[in-house]
């Protein structure tokens, strides 16, 4: 039995994908476009369509400076050729009644399918590196207008996984910390994709654990997205969907609220530390190195160890 969350975190099968002739250590770097049929229930698997992959375009990130992530709207185009070996030229048409010749079982090609794109490396017959690019829901499965001739194109329009949070009404909440509210809202929204949460949740300076940020009471809302924004922004947190379809909640890079909590030796903090990856460089141009300013002696003298942080115990993980 495979849940949807497990499916999203499953690396591509080493037999899937197509080689893209990229040199990256040993092994074969491959590009995989795969779909999964939610209606298959517990038997859900990834079906490989990489050999038919023609092109894709999508976006990650925000529209405005320091903004919230928006839906990347991936668009994927598949190309069928007469010479591809799939006997029926209509086999990937959204109206086709039996696609088992392609997938081994009939998969109805329509909105609601899960689609993902990623590159991975196969070494020694196993997938040892995986760089997921996006995991989305299929919004529309098209049939090429240029169906005449040797090529037939299918344009697949997708929408991000945050669409699974849209139009999800949520009940009212009493005053509480940001983390209990986040968990309760996701449960109410029946959100069944992976979730990763980082941030200082509670703090205890000897008088008992209290939320680091206590939110006011909230009336019922019509959208889980609206609820996420209203819950996380006051706590100095941002959220987005990672390429594996994971809902990632982390401290905003322009604030230090949560890090300060973890760094405060007088507090016992629950929660998980999220670290942005860093690009370390050694400038060849020495003229870029300006005179060193004196380090704040008070801060330099302090020594902080991670033993001051107690919490969920989750190990910081690299960004997926």
């Amino acid at each position: 039995m495979t849940t949807l969350a497990e499916l999203c975190l499953q690396a591509p099968d080493p037999t899937h994908g197509r080689s893209i002739q990229v040199a990256y250590g040993v092994g074969d770097v491959r590009l995989a476009f795969e779909i999964a049929d939610i209606s298959a229930g517990a038997g859900i698997v990834w079906h490989d369509l990489s050999q038919l992959f023609e092109r894709a375009r999508w976006r990650v990130g925000a529209e405005e400076p320091y903004g919230k992530a928006v839906d990347g709207n991936p668009v994927v185009v598949l190309r069928r050729r007469f010479t591809d070996g799939i006997a029926d030229f209509d086999a990937l048409a959204p109206w086709y009644e039996d696609t088992s010749a392609v997938f081994g079982t009939h998969v109805r090609l329509r909105g609601g399918l899960i689609a993902r794109l990623g590159v991975f490396r196969v070494a020694g017959g196993v997938t040892d590196k995986w760089f997921p690019l996006f995991t989305s829901r299929v919004k529309r499965w098209g049939d090429g207008a240029r169906a005449m001739g040797n090529n037939r194109y299918h344009q697949i329009t997708c929408m991000g996984m945050q669409s699974r949070l849209a139009r999800k009404p949520l009940p009212s909440r009493l005053p509480e910390g940001w983390r209990p509210r986040l968990d309760a809202d996701m449960t109410s929204a029946a959100y069944n994709l992976p979730i990763e949460v980082y941030g200082a949740e509670t703090q205890d300076d000897g008088g008992g654990a209290v939320p680091t940020v206590k939110l006011a009471a909230r009336p019922a809302v019509t959208s889980a997205i609206e609820a996420l924004n209203s819950t996380l922004a006051p706590a100095g947190l941002v959220w987005r969907i990672t390429p594996t379809g994971t809902l990632l909640v982390e401290p905003a890079p322009w604030t230090t609220f949560h890090d300060d909590k973890f760094a405060d030796a007088g507090l016992t903090v629950t929660g998980s530390v999220r670290m942005n990856p860093l690009l370390a460089s050694s400038p060849a141009d020495a003229s870029r190195s300006r005179g060193r300013r004196p380090t704040n002696p008070a801060r330099s003298a302090s020594t902080t160890t991670r033993s001051t942080v107690t919490g969920s115990g989750s190990t910081p993980t690299p960004r997926t």
Partner: protein, 747 residues
């Protein structure tokens, strides 16, 4: 904007139990202006204060946003970064819109990325547009390139170049040039607006010359200007020439000596084992030349001849019109073959720490022997020759001093113990006041310094880690037209540097670890010079002592020995009958030093002799009892000689081969002696004695191979315990009453 940061890192990456430590860095000025803007605390795998500081410095006054940037999968480093970049990831943008504008470096975070992947045959096309939000920027002036680079005087084997140097916002410290090579050659800045590359290039060939400016601080490159290049084709050859890439068995014959319908032509292939005496080994006429009308080139193919390693070869050709031969046109001497240098089988060149050895000659190509990496002929390259021992040597052109050859070497990280050696014979001293680095690599240079028109000194120059360079003391004056083996050893732990000439320490210095050097070797020589056995070791190796230490073999009206120490053995005498006396007598000793009891070395002492008389020269030895200098005076009409030996206890046996009146005195050591032997060969009678007729494994020793007084000639030599000698004086080298050979076996 970020103006403070806290980094946590392991105290010991190999010991998790050692815990962690943290370090803070902030910009108090920015914090005062904009309030504290800390970046969230972070964990690093290792401490790196510089990067931490820079990260804050570059962001402390941020207010900029850059437009989207485009990268693609074929850009260096684009994969897998294309696949892993995400929103909020840090980004640095470096941009210069024009060479004469400043470079802007900005830092920020990624706002969004748009990907586009298209299937292509055999792979994909992958583009990504990155939209950053920038929070800080810094402007840096750049070095401008040279202007108006052009080849002004193109010749058969070289060219001169000129350029102008622009006004710079920051000052370059050196100019770098290269010719058909990946290795840059440093020259001075300002360069004077030009450079002469007057030899070493193949004729009728397209060449590319490049120039750039470099700024270095404490020997580290901080700025590099854009490169300017000029391509040119050298003129057609006027002498037989090896075509580009050829091995020397086929040569291009100049059209004016190839003959025609009216004129005959002849050619010869000649061989030499010393670069002086040439023997014709093959010859022919114009029927042997082949003509290619497309290239208008005459060629002579001698691939059928069996060339041998260890010799120099050259072709010569001339026209014969109306039965009158014209002048010979000579090819530059070249070796044929590709054998490893013989020195690599000898100590100390067989030491496993040897990292550079120059030259290995592979046909007409110069290689660095340890790695086999090809070298580049420098602007002063004057051909390939042979040293006194018959090893291939690199020559400087007769009219051009400077860099003879250079090439890549993995010596940039060699900052610990190291040694260097080079055998040189300088045709003239370096320019007055301009020390010449005859051998440079690993931050360690062997320099030659002008002393007089016929003398120079040597020393070592060390580029040290604390910045700048230091030099050792300089040697006593060395003579031009004389071969010396220079050896430098740097013991970093003991901070000592030793300079030896022919295995005698002549200068010392004090230096700690060296700074990382350019990963190249460079050989430079004054005009008319040659050098060989140039080596670098990654340890403080020492030269073997196969022969007794010879402080000096000198001769003059007053044979002078300097720097004598107690216990040194002094051998001295003369080679001419004094005023009709039956024996030449003993020269008088004077000076600050003193010798003890004098022993007369009698002829025929334990060895065979030959010849009819041994009365033409005398020989004595004694032990130095008072250190200092001693002269042995015995008039101006005779060859007075003196030798000092160190490290030996005395003279065990003598072997005197007299020659007074003997037409052809000769001597042969039938077997290698058990102790080192020192010898004197006297000759004379002709004005230009150049070859004493010696063969075997003997070494010329001391700083004066030939001793001159008037028409008398002598040569000092040493014979190691594994070496042999056969010596013969030809009749024209015999001077009545004063020619012969003396060999003394030490104990």
């Amino acid at each position: 904007m970020i103006n403070e940061w806290q980094i946590t890192y392991p105290v010991d990456v190999d010991d998790e139990e050692a815990g962690t430590d943290s370090r803070n860095y902030d910009d108090p000025v920015s914090a005062d202006m904009f309030d504290p803007m800390p970046l969230q605390a972070a964990n690093w795998l290792a401490r790196n204060d510089q990067v931490q500081d820079d990260t804050v410095d570059y962001r402390a006054y941020a207010d900029l946003v850059a437009p989207p940037m485009l990268t693609s999968i074929d850009a260096p480093g684009a994969f897998p970064a294309l696949a892993v970049l995400g929103q909020y990831d840090p980004v640095t943008v470096v941009n210069a819109t024009r060479e004469d504008r400043t470079q802007v470096t900005a830092d920020g975070i990624i706002r969004s990325i748009t990907h586009e992947i298209k299937a292509r045959i055999g792979g994909v096309s992958w583009k990504a547009w990155v939209q950053p939000d920038l929070r800080s920027s810094e402007q840096t002036p750049l070095l401008l390139p040279v202007n108006a680079l052009q080849a002004t005087d193109v010749r058969e084997d070289g060219a001169t170049f000129s350029w102008t140097e622009p006004t710079q916002a920051i000052a370059p410290t050196e100019t770098q040039v290269r010719m058909n090579s990946g290795v840059w050659l440093p020259i001075a800045y300002p360069s004077g607006g030009g450079f002469d590359w007057l030899s070493g290039l193949n004729p009728s060939t397209l060449h590319k010359f490049e120039v750039r400016l470099v700024r270095k601080v404490d020997e580290l490159t901080t700025h590099v200007s854009p490169v300017r290049e000029v391509s040119f084709t050298t003129l057609a050859p006027t002498v037989p020439t090896v075509p580009p890439g050829g091995d020397g068995t086929v040569v291009i014959i100049p059209g004016d000596v190839a003959g025609d319908e009216e004129c005959e032509a002849e050619w010869e292939l000649r061989r030499s084992d010393d670069g002086i005496i040439w023997t014709t080994v093959a010859s022919g006429d114009k029927d042997d030349f082949t003509y290619d009308p497309e290239t208008d080139i005459w060629q002579l193919d001698n691939t059928g001849y069996e060339f041998e390693d260890g010799y120099l070869y050259r072709h010569r050709a001339r026209e014969i019109c109306g039965g009158v031969p014209g002048d010979w046109k000579y090819q530059e001497p070249d070796p044929i073959g590709c054998a490893d240098p013989a020195q690599l089988g000898e100590a100390p060149y067989d030491d496993e720490s040897l990292v550079v050895f120059v030259p290995k000659i592979c046909n007409t190509q110069i290689l660095e022997a340890v790695t086999g990496a090809p070298a580049t002929k420098g602007p002063a390259f004057g051909g390939i020759g042979l040293d006194a021992a018959g090893n291939y040597a690199l020559k400087s052109a007769a009219g051009a001093g400077g860099i003879v050859a250079y090439g890549p070497a993995g010596t940039d990280e060699l900052t610990g113990d190291a040694s260097q050696a080079i055998t040189i014979n300088l045709g003239e001293p370096p320019a007055d006041g301009v020390p010449m680095g005859v051998w440079q690599s690993a931050g360690l240079h062997i320099e030659a310094l002008y002393e007089s028109s016929t003398e120079y000194r040597v020393r070592a120059k060390i580029f040290i880690a604390s910045g700048g360079s230091i030099t050792t003391t300089a040697s006593d004056p060395l003579d031009v037209d004389t071969e010396y083996e220079i050896f430098v050893s740097h013991d970093v732990e003991n901070t000592s540097v030793s300079v030896k000439v022919d295995d005698v320490e002549v200068a010392t210095g004090t230096a700690g670890a060296r700074v990382n050097a350019l990963p190249v070797w460079i050989m430079s020589l004054p005009p008319g010079s040659y050098a060989t056995s140039a080596a670098v070791w990654s340890s403080a190796v020492d030269l073997p002592t196969a022969s007794p230490t010879v402080d000096g073999i000198v001769s003059s009206a007053n044979a002078e020995l300097t720097g004598l120490e107690v216990g040194d053995i002094v051998i001295y005498g003369r080679n001419y009958r004094a005023n009709g006396a039956s024996t030449p007598g003993q020269p008088g000793a004077s000076g600050t030093g003193a010798i003890g009891t004098v022993t007369t070395i009698t002829a025929n002492s334990g060895y065979d002799t030959s010849g009819t008389s041994r009365g033409a020269f005398s020989c004595y030895w004694a032990t130095v009892t008072t250190p200092g200098d001693i002269s042995f005076a015995f008039g101006t009409d005779r060859l007075t000689y003196a030798i000092a030996l160190r490290g030996t206890s005395g003279i065990a046996q003598t072997k005197v081969f007299a020659a007074n009146g003997n037409a052809s005195p000769s001597a042969t050591l039938d077997s290698a002696p058990s102790n080192p032997v020192v010898g004197i060969v006297f000759a004379g009678g002709v004005a230009d004695v150049t070859t004493p007729g010696l063969s075997g494994d003997y070494d010329y020793a001391g700083s004066v191979p030939w001793l001159y007084v008037g028409s008398r000639r002598g040569v000092g030599l040493t014979i190691g315990t594994g070496q042999t000698l056969s010596a013969t004086l030809t009749s024209d080298q015999v001077l009545a009453g004063g020619s012969g050979i003396v060999l003394l076996e030490t104990s």
